[in-house]
Amino acid sequence: MSDAAALSDVDTKPRRDAPAILLEASALSLRAGGAAGNRLLFAGLDLRVAAGERWVVVGPNGAGKSSLLAALAGVFPIAAGSVRVDGVELAGWAPSALAERRAWSPQFWSDPFPATVRETAALAHRRDSGWRGAFDQRSDPEVERVLGRLLLADLADNDVQTLSGGERQRVALATALLQDAPLLLLDEPASHLDLAHERLLVDLLLAQAGGPGAVVASLHDLDLAWDLASHVVLIDGRGGVVAGLRDDVLVADRLGAVFGVAIHGIEVAGARRFVVGPNPIGRGAS
């Protein structure tokens, strides 16, 4: 084998082994409510989500976190730019084929009719089984496994209408996981969760992104964001947005400026933690 052949091997190998880009946004701009003429949420967002990455979206209320996730899922109109899944523009996808590739979990769910936790978790599971699926959901081992991982096994036969907010949130995550798509787009998956279940969520999403999958999630808790994220999108609510590696974006000063409060970064057991100071920005922050 010649040196040239070995060299070319070296050249192409990183390319071949580079994790697949699951989701890509270029020069993405969104407007509030999706309508032209409305307030600009942000402009010029570029991001490339590769397998194994966890992107966390942070920003003040109304900055456009939910709109971004919905736009990435294809259910929110884009003002400018493009979104590609597996390299193909959203408009080029057959909607049911796209459902195989990404699962979107909205912030709010409606539960208008009685349904068990198991039925709700399995809503989008085995989507092609048609009416037969209505008969044999009971003994699906994958559904039971996901319910178990989310500590929902004891609640499996309870009615979703009777759950607490945190329990319902875990059922929503189960529904998203059971859609069996590699890319998860989760809108506020940690809302209503207690401290222990927040850790469970982080562990689960880290494991989910460990394989060929990836996660994009909006979070309010900056510490949780630090523990989950490999990358962060920070929307400032005034039309600006930054996206990049976690350590570059989740910086106390930058966060303080965006949220308008004094934020201090401290080290706890090797992880960065963010503490909000009592004074308004400019006085307490150093």
């Binding site: 909607p95 409606s110 809503l123 907010g165």
Partner: protein, 326 residues
Amino acid sequence: MTSLRTIVLALAAALLACIVGVLAGSSGFGLASPDIMTSIRVPRVLAGFGAGAALAVSGALMQLLTRNALADPYVLGVAGGAAVGALGAMLVAAAAGMQLSEWGVAGGAAIGAAAASALLFGLLWRRLASTATSSGGDGAAALLLVGVMIGSGCSALVSLILTLADEGQLRGMVFWLLGDLNGATHWEIVWIALAVALAVVWPTARELDWLARGDAWAATLGVPVGRRRRAVLLASALATGAAVATAGAIGFVGLVVPHALRRLGVRAAPLLLPASAIAGGAFVVAVDAVARTVVAPLQLPVGVLAAAIGVPTFIAMLLARPGRGR
């Protein structure tokens, strides 16, 4: 497998109701002369079954579409249109000095139902395609409100017609409004309408369960939201219009039957729709069998007895709705 057992039970109940319905008559219980059997009792059972099935399917569809367990076929205002059509036909025929046949009343009801449906579709066509990213769902709320308004307009017209009608006509009109299978002999149309409605919605019924959880979420699963909602609305309007034209505005079937089935474990739309058809048909046939024998030889309108069962059920449902945890 509770759902499967419930459907088998519903089928058995339907069979039993039809046998009782054919045997029961104002002339006494048991086999009547072949003439009465073929020209009165069997058509009446078939008409009642078809109307009950169509109303229950329509009710299940409206509940799924509006995400409201208290919705029924009449929230669309289509039945109101049918009432205006039927009573209007009676009024016009009397003014012209004609004797109106069963077909004349049914025809008037069908025209009225079609007109109300056309109005509903015309007003909502664009709105139905909207996919609100918030969970509320723009389309569902608009549908409910426009339907209720069309219904209110129709009931004002019905009051006007009742005011204009003379004493002799009033009795027939009021009976029709209550829902009456007395003399219902033309059962074919409602069965055809039911078959068409189920053919339109059943093949994609699982998507209706997704739509009930959120428009945008269903869209991410590949559901063509606008197309599905229009198809459901069309199927529901067709089934309701045909049922009301056949048997009058029988109340509560469309509300109570899907609700009871959900309680018995039939939740998934692909099962709920056919189960509603079977149980709704059985319900009306059974109630009608009681209605025409309980104070024989007088025949009660089936709607009166259906309401006697439906009203307490509705109130129990309203008060027993589980509270939200969040």
